[in-house]
Symmetry: C2
Subunit: 331 residues, 2 copies
């Protein structure tokens, strides 16, 4: 446990001034001989410059704050992976805080990050409200949102309405008349409201007489499974679930009740989770590319950091993966 070396120590050891060492470290002009001297000393001592002193002086933290609702979900993992690709490539590091799906905690996290002096913040939000706007205004750093949208903030998110629409059109094309949409609480505007809204639009535009019954559940496998009785009570020929997780939970219920998918009921979800490809039957899903979204989000934040003008956007990178769980309605 040796005492940590400072730039002064290196300067002494190399017989130069510390400013020379600093220059060497920051690509300034240093003569070849001194450079070699310094290089040698640094290598021998394993000297590492003090992060905080450097940041204090340069006024750049090279730290990006990230607020996530949770870490243990498919989309969170992919999103973070995407963020990380860009951030580390550009020499930034991620400081990750968890909001635990709690809006107040999300705000607290943002505050804390601002205080810490991060250069910018990415928020995978649950819900954007007036408190967010206030906070953003008094912050002097760029903040970008994803997960939810709001016309007064910078955001980039999946186009849930469009996703719903594509799914609606597909289900309508299969001639289903009686369908159940197994969705989540409208508190989650993106998943709860938009996906459902888009689905109605897409479906009804192509099948005006079709009937859509809405059943509410949450994002857990268990609740989806438990919603089975209610779902079948509507005698649907197709069930569309707001997430693949929900669809998988319901699929399990169908298996147990010997309801055959897709012979008896067609089933589809949103998300494009990998397990959908190996479930039996495999699951038709409107897949999002969260990693790609993460990359774009980080890129946008970095643009903001360079004062480039950015506009909020809905990402259309999504595609319908048709698998075994859906088929034409029986006539």
């Amino acid at each position: 446990m040796t005492q940590k070396l400072t730039i002064q120590d290196i300067a002494n050891l190399a017989g130069v001034a510390k400013s020379t060492v600093s220059r060497y470290l920051n690509n300034g002009y240093v003569s070849k001989e001194k450079a070699m001297l310094i290089d040698k000393v640094i290598r021998e001592t394993g000297y590492k410059s003090n992060f905080f002193a450097k940041r204090l002086k340069t006024k750049q933290s090279k730290l990006i704050g990230i607020v996530m609702p949770r870490l243990d979900s498919f989309s969170a993992g992919k999103l973070l992976t995407g963020f990380n690709i860009i951030l580390q490539q550009m020499g930034y590091q991620a400081l990750i805080l968890i909001s635990e799906l709690n809006s107040q905690k999300e705000l607290d996290n943002i505050s804390q990050l601002i205080q810490q002096g991060v250069d910018g913040i990415i928020v995978d939000s649950i819900n954007i409200n007036d408190n967010h706007l206030k906070l953003i205004n008094q912050a002097n750093i760029p903040i970008i949102f994803t997960g939810q949208s709001h016309d007064k903030v910078n955001f980039i998110k999946v186009d849930d309405i469009n996703a719903g629409k594509l799914m609606g059109e597909y289900i309508a094309s299969l001639n289903h008349q009686q369908v159940v949409f197994l969705g989540v609480s409208p508190q989650d505007n993106a998943v709860g409201v938009d996906r459902y809204k888009g689905f109605r639009q897409g479906f009804l535009a192509n099948n005006p007489q079709g009937k859509i019954s809405f059943v509410q559940t949450d994002c857990s496998l268990e609740q989806a499974y438990n919603s089975g009785d209610t779902v079948v009570s509507f005698e649907p020929s197709a069930v569309v679930c707001a997430t693949d997780n929900i669809a998988l939970g319901l699929l399990r219920y169908f298996h147990e009740k010997k309801i055959h998918v897709p012979q008896d009921i067609s089933l589809a979800g949103f998300g494009g989770y990998p397990v959908g490809s190996i479930s039996y039957p495999s699951l038709t899903s409107l897949a999002f590319d969260y990693k790609h979204l993460g990359i774009k989000t980080a890129e946008k934040l970095l643009s903001m950091l360079q004062n480039q003008p950015v506009t909020s956007e809905y990402d259309h990178n999504m595609n319908l993966i048709i698998r075994e769980s859906t088929r034409l309605a029986k006539i």
Copy 2:
């Protein structure tokens, strides 16, 4: 965009010395009147102390570095969730770097974190080698490993041998004679070697005549699915997979080949992934509590930070979840 205020500005505004403001901020003795004055100014200005200046002075970063092989996996999400619970509770923040399952990158990440001046590091390692030891020795901060073990480092990890053993005993108790262990590369000591080793022990101890055939795959659903032909060529009455993901991939293969689980073949995995509970049939699995492990890991690091003596340990928090995919072998 107002210029960021310093402690001196606050002091001027409140008509006191900056050290008084500092004391106020750090719970030092300040008279009631001055305290109120300062409080008022701080509130009005929204002053936030400079993170880096403070860290430079106090020599504590309150930052914990975390190196993960990847972020988009079930165990990673749970582990991080666990870390986070403890860290944020103790006023620490996580700086997360990704090694991308690459040992050299893992080392680079550790170096980088040391340089940044984090107070401690948690490494979810792929493989601990001599370079790690060198790095640890020249670092002046505590580093704890998980994921892999090594007798020269501090670690806490799942007891994979024991997990394998429990599974082996269970499969033996079901009277299976011909079993396939669908595992991964021995490069991953924990999952590739220990789980298999434990399984052999547990199984053969209770069924000395039993036959175990080893088939190698990787952790992906696809590869597991592709291993199907090889697996069935051994005509096993039970297949044990090194992870639930692998088991699920294989299950899909069985469905397609109309091989019934568990009637024709029993199937089990390791991990306790939630999808195992809703697959059809539901999957018997040796479940680990990764979140709990994350909590214990963070706690241990924090103990090290306070110079408390710690010992490496294998976590025994695991349990066999018996579901529908396994049953007694036919006689």
